[in-house]
Symmetry: C2
DNA sequence: AACATTTTGTGAATTTTATCACAAAATATT
DNA sequence: AATATTTTGTGATAAAATTCACAAAATGTT
């Protein structure tokens, strides 16, 4: 069963590959990708096996071909348009972040209850009042929305997004959103990440090690 | 072996408990916490069992006592001071975010190569030039740092933080940081989160379900 | 062209994580 | 005070994820 962890790893392989490509690599081996992403080489091969990706025995994988295959799996063939709800601190940071574009993700609009004093200055992403969200999403066939509003507004926004027909939500509010549809919810909980660090920092030296895929020191995560 | 996932769940239980407390609850049952955090009740009990937390058969758990216990485990007894490196978009958002304080996390300073045009306006967190970081960390015994600089600067900042004696790092740069010390690194990779959504949104209806702890729709995560 | 070396691909084994299921305890009910 | 009900706590079990390990294939070497 393919789940989030597989996709995160594929995404990591893809990014490592892009770097290898920049460096002029023509082929890579599973242990190059393993080193670059912090997993074992058998993990890399197993993942590829699951997605039907194959290389050459002794010859490794052709960078170009492998990238194509990963791009295909990850839906990188077309630009993914995303909207952001909440043009506060986090919303603004996301709106102005240019790094997504090279990964095929484009913030096309933002929505906020208070558009007046929240217009981001640097980039030409329009900020609309919340009332226009539903219409915009339907008209433009937006599939992914980011929730960057305060806790107490988050569920309301979630309901609005679901009602508008959105398919996936990235939630920055530190609460558990509910939806009875099959809308996909990913959470980014910075508070939790920091609390986590606090715990392990305090535990350092008390031999409370941590070593699963997410916890292992020096391992990727996302 | 206690790892990140345990701590994330404990952190979630703690937050649910705080809400229950606000609502006037005196006691809770494992399935209240399960509902609130999106896990099973046996998971809640198993987690508690691992941390030696016990309740009363039939009586559930005393909210107040349980909170104390969780606060203790999660190191919530004292304020955790954190520094932020990089006063760009994300750095600024974190600096100005007030939500952490109620969870005992305080941003005490920020550092940036370019302090001039990057001073955050709203809150009185000082922004120092990068050269002052090492000294500041040592002098103030800072344990946790947040990396919010561009990719290409991230490893350099990481090295600097490690050299300064920092114990835990929350990394927003979408690369795998390396350190030969046992500094703990947690990554927040928004690009990866969005790519993940793209995959599952595209897969919707193609019966590519996802159902592990992180992937299950409507489940908490971080 | 034979032999050595490297690397994939994948079943099997192992480890980790989560769920089940039920005895024991606490509370409620009659 | 006896009986019924509820909920914990945890071994046993199941499921999931990862690693192992090795045959097979591709490439390199003598």
């Amino acid at each position: 069963m393919v789940n989030k962890n597989y996709i995160i790893r594929l995404s990591n392989y893809r990014h490592a590959l892009n770097r290898f490509k920049t460096l002029g690599f023509i082929k890579v081996f599973s242990d190059n990708l393993a080193d670059a992403t912090g997993v074992t080489s058998s993990q890399v091969r197993k993942d590829f096996s699951i997605f039907g990706i194959s290389g050459n025995k002794k010859g490794g994988y052709q960078v170009e071909l492998l990238l194509e295959r990963l791009n295909d799996i990850l839906g990188k063939d077309r630009l993914q348009r995303v909207i952001i709800v909440g043009a506060g601190k986090i919303g603004k940071a996301l709106i102005n972040y240019k790094g997504f574009e090279k990964d095929g993700i484009k913030v096309v609009a933002a929505f906020d209850v208070n558009t007046a004093d929240r217009v981001p200055v640097e980039i030409d992403v329009p900020v609309y009042p919340l009332e226009k969200l539903k219409n915009y999403v339907k008209k433009n066939n937006i599939e992914i929305g980011v929730i960057a509003v305060p806790d107490n507004a988050a569920q309301g926004v979630m309901d609005l997004l679901v009602e508008s027909g959105i398919k996936g939500v990235l939630n920055f509010a530190p609460i558990r959103l509910r939806s009875d549809t099959d809308t996909i919810i990913n959470n980014v909980d910075l508070r939790s990440e920091l609390e986590n660090l606090v715990y392990f920092v305090n535990a350092t030296g008390k031999s409370k090690a941590r070593n699963n895929d997410k916890g292992k020191k020096n391992r990727e995560e996302q």
